[in-house]
Symmetry: C2
C-alpha cells in the first residue's frame, strides 16, 4: 500500500486562527488514485518541531506532503530547514525567478522587492515544481526511497501544484491499487438507527471493503470503499453490495451520488427545466448562497427576497399585517403567505420560504429558539413543516437549509407523479 | 510551559470527507488560558495507529486531547482501546446512563436501543465528564503525570465538555502562564508589502513576543502575542508595542479588534442606530448570510433582494431594461440603479449592491471572470468600485463580500465627517 502522511506547518494552525481545509482536499484527490492518507500532523513554525515531524512521518509513510511555511515573511522557516534536511545549498532557480517576475509584472502590477526575489531561491537538492499561481514554488525531494513534497499553504496554489505536478508524478512512480467508492446519501434517520437497520449487511462485509457513516446536518452519508488490484472485479463487487445497501436503506435514500443537498435539488430542477426562488427570513440568504455557489445556477435560480424585518415581509411579499399580528412572524400562516408572495413576484416554478428563531435570543416559552416554519410549493399547492432544532445559531441555520431543500426535493417528486 | 497535543480520530478525516474545525476552536480556547498547542495529529479508526499516536504525543505534551471515535457505530474503536491503554475494564457508569436515558426520553423522543445503552459504558480507570448534549460521555485519564481527555467529535458536544469540565480542571491543575494578544486588522495591502513596512519593528521584538501574519481574502491580520508570568507587565508591554504597530500600519488599519469584516460594519451601524439592506446578484445572498449570522442582526439589517436574473433586477429593483441592454448587467450603471432601487424599497440608511461574473463560465474578453462592480451608498450619494479578481467561484464570492463591506465601512466613515 502506498501511504501518505501530510504535514501542515504554521503557527496560525496551532493558535486556531486558520482552519485546515487543504488536508481534506488532498485526501480526496489522493484516494482517487489509490493512495491512502494514514496520518496528518500539524506543527508550528518551530525548527525542531518541523524536523522531528519529517523524521517521524518518514518512518511510516512512503510519501510526505508538506504544506505551508513558505510565505515571504519572517515567521516562515521551512525552506532553509528543508535545505539542511536534504543536504543542499540555496540557489536561485531561473524558472522560479521568471515565474515570480512575470507574476509581479502581469498580475500583481507591483514592483518586485528583495523579499519576492528570495521566493525564487530553492535548495539545489530539490526538483522545482513551478507554481504559476503564486510566488512560492513547490519542491520535491527524495531521500531513502521516500518522496517529500513541500507546497505553499494557500489552497488554490497548493491545489494547482498537486494537479500540475504531484498527482501525475505519483501515478507514474508507484504501482497503485484501485480504490472503488460508492456513497449513499440518506436523510431523516440517525446514525445509530441506520446502523441497526443495516447491521447484518455491515457484519457480512469482506475485509477489503469498508463502510463509513458520515453524519452532517440531518444527512447521513454511507460510504462503501473497496481496495484491491483488479479494477473490474472490485467495481463489480462494490456495485452488487451497493444495490443491497440501497434496498436496505430505501426509505431514507436521497441519492446514490456523493453530492450536497442543494446540488441534488439543482439537478432535479435542471432536468425538468424548472426554476426556483426563495423567501428567507431566519436563514437570511443562506439558501440563496448555497444555490448560487453552484456554477451555472442562473439556469434554475431567479432570486430571493431576504425579508428579515416584518415591515419588509409586508412590503415586499405582501404578507398581511394581520397575519403577522395574529400568528407571529414565525408561523405556518406567514410562511404560506411568503411563498405566495415570492411565487407571484418572481414567477418561478417552485418557491421555498422560511421563518424561524435561530437564537441565541428571540425565543419564547411557546416558540423556543430553534422553532422554524418552512413552506415549499408552487402555484397549485404549498406544503409546510414545523421544525424544532436545539443547537446554536450557525447549526440551526444549516439544519434549516438542509431540511428545506429536502422538503422541496420531496415536493418535486410528489409533483412529478401528479 | 504547559503544552497540549490534539489527536483527532476518524477515517472520515483521512479520506477527506470532513474538515476538522474542532482543532482550531480548541487551540483558541486553550490559548486564552495560557496553554499552547504544540501538535495536532489526525489518525484513522485503526487500533495500532491510535495506540502509537497516544504513545507519541504523550512523549512531548503534558495534556493529550482526543476527539472523535466515540460514535455508536461499528467503525468506532476508540473506547475499548482507551480501556486497554489505561488498564481498565468496562463498566456501566450510572450518571452517563441517566444522561443517555434522559436524552432519548426528552430530546430525541425515541426508544433507547442496546447500542445506545452501550454508550454509557466507560473504562473504570477514567473520570467521566458528563455530556448533556449527546450520548457519548467525555473521559479523563491520568498516566505518568500526563492528562488524557477523550471527547466525542461532534463540535457542540466537544465544546460543551471542554467548557463544563476540561477548561476549569486544567486551570485548577496547572500553574499557567499569561498569554496576551493584540490583533490588528488591515485591508488593502499584501503580506509582503506589510512586512516591508514594519520590518524594523518586527526585527526589534523581544523573543517572548511574536508577530504573526494571517492573510485572508484581502484582509491581513497582524497578531502580536506575548507569553510570560507577570500579567500586568505583559499587558503593558504589548499595549505599547501595539500602539507603535497601529501607527506604522495606519493607512491600512480597519480595526484593532479581532473581528470579521461583517461584524465591524455591524458595530458601526449599531453605534449610529442606522441600518442596511443589500441588493445582490453575483454574491447570491452571501452578504446577507454573513450579516444575519451575527446574533441580533435584525437591529441593523432589514433584508435583501437577491436579483440573480435580469428580469428580477428589472422587476424588483426597477433597474431599467435599457440600462442593462446598453451597459450589460455587470456595469457601474446597473449597480447604481440597484442601489437606488433597494434604498427606495427597503428605506434603509445604507445599501450595498453587487453585480459580477464569478466563474467558471460567463466571462468575455471585455469582462473576464472576476469582473465585479460594487456600489455602496445612501439617499444622498453612491460610490462605486470595479474589481478584477482572479480566483475560483468560491474565492471570488468571498473576496467580493469582504471588499463590499470595506467599501461600506469607508463610506460610513466618510458620511460621519460630512
Amino acid at each position: 500500500m502506498t501511504t501518505v502522511s501530510i504535514i501542515t506547518i504554521g503557527d496560525e494552525l496551532l493558535i486556531g486562527q486558520v482552519i485546515d481545509t487543504n488536508s481534506a482536499w488532498l485526501a480526496q484527490e489522493l484516494n482517487k488514485i489509490g493512495i491512502t492518507v494514514t496520518r496528518r500532523v500539524a506543527v508550528g513554525d518551530k525548527y525542531d518541531e518541523i524536523w522531528n515531524a519529517l523524521d517521524q512521518e518518514a518512518a511510516t509513510a512512503n510519501i510526505i506532503l508538506i504544506t505551508g511555511g513558505l510565505g515571504p515573511t519572517a515567521d516562515d522557516i521551512t525552506k532553509p530547514l528543508l535545505c539542511k534536511y536534504f543536504n543542499g545549498k540555496m540557489i536561485v532557480n531561473q524558472e522560479a525567478l521568471e515565474n515570480v517576475t512575470l507574476l509581479f509584472e502581469k498580475v500583481f502590477k507591483r514592483p518586485l522587492t528583495e523579499r519576492n526575489i528570495k521566493q525564487a531561491e530553492v535548495p539545489d537538492t530539490c526538483r522545482v515544481l513551478i507554481n504559476p499561481r503564486g510566488t512560492a514554488a513547490g519542491m520535491l525531494f527524495e531521500k531513502e526511497n521516500k518522496i517529500f513534497v513541500s507546497m505553499p499553504g494557500v489552497p488554490h496554489e497548493m491545489k494547482g501544484i498537486m494537479m500540475d505536478h504531484v498527482i501525475p508524478l505519483l501515478k507514474n512512480k508507484f504501482d497503485l491499487p484501485h480504490i472503488a467508492y460508492r456513497t449513499l446519501v440518506t436523510f431523516g434517520i440517525g446514525e445509530s438507527m441506520l446502523a441497526d437497520l443495516i447491521q447484518s449487511f455491515e457484519e457480512a462485509l469482506p475485509t477489503h471493503i469498508k463502510l463509513a457513516y458520515l453524519p452532517n446536518y440531518g444527512i447521513v452519508r454511507l460510504r462503501l470503499s473497496a481496495i484491491g488490484k483488479d479494477k473490474d472485479l472490485l467495481e463489480k463487487e462494490i456495485d452488487t453490495l451497493f444495490i443491497t445497501l440501497q434496498e436496505l436503506a430505501k426509505d431514507y435514500v436521497v441519492t446514490n451520488e456523493d453530492e450536497p443537498m442543494e446540488k441534488i435539488v439543482a439537478k432535479m430542477l435542471l432536468q425538468r427545466k424548472q426554476n426556483l426562488a426563495t423567501a428567507e427570513s431566519c436563514t437570511g440568504g443562506y439558501l440563496a448562497h448555497l444555490i448560487t455557489s453552484i456554477p451555472g445556477s442562473s439556469a434554475f435560480f431567479q432570486g430571493s427576497m431576504i425579508t428579515y424585518s416584518n415591515q419588509v415581509k409586508e412590503h415586499l411579499l405582501q404578507v398581511k399585517k394581520d397575519t403577522i399580528e395574529k400568528n407571529g412572524a414565525v408561523s405556518e400562516a406567514v410562511v404560506i403567505e411568503m411563498t405566495q408572495g415570492i411565487l407571484k413576484h418572481l414567477k418561478t416554478t417552485y418557491a421555498i420560504s422560511v421563518s424561524g428563531i435561530m437564537g441565541p435570543d428571540g425565543g419564547t416559552a411557546e416558540k423556543p429558539v430553534g422553532t422554524v416554519w418552512v413552506a415549499v410549493g408552487n402555484l397549485n399547492s404549498i406544503k409546510t413543516h414545523q421544525f424544532h432544532f436545539r443547537f446554536d445559531r450557525q447549526k440551526n441555520i444549516q439544519l434549516t437549509a438542509m431540511n428545506a431543500f429536502n422538503l422541496l426535493r420531496q415536493f418535486i417528486i410528489g409533483s412529478d407523479s401528479n
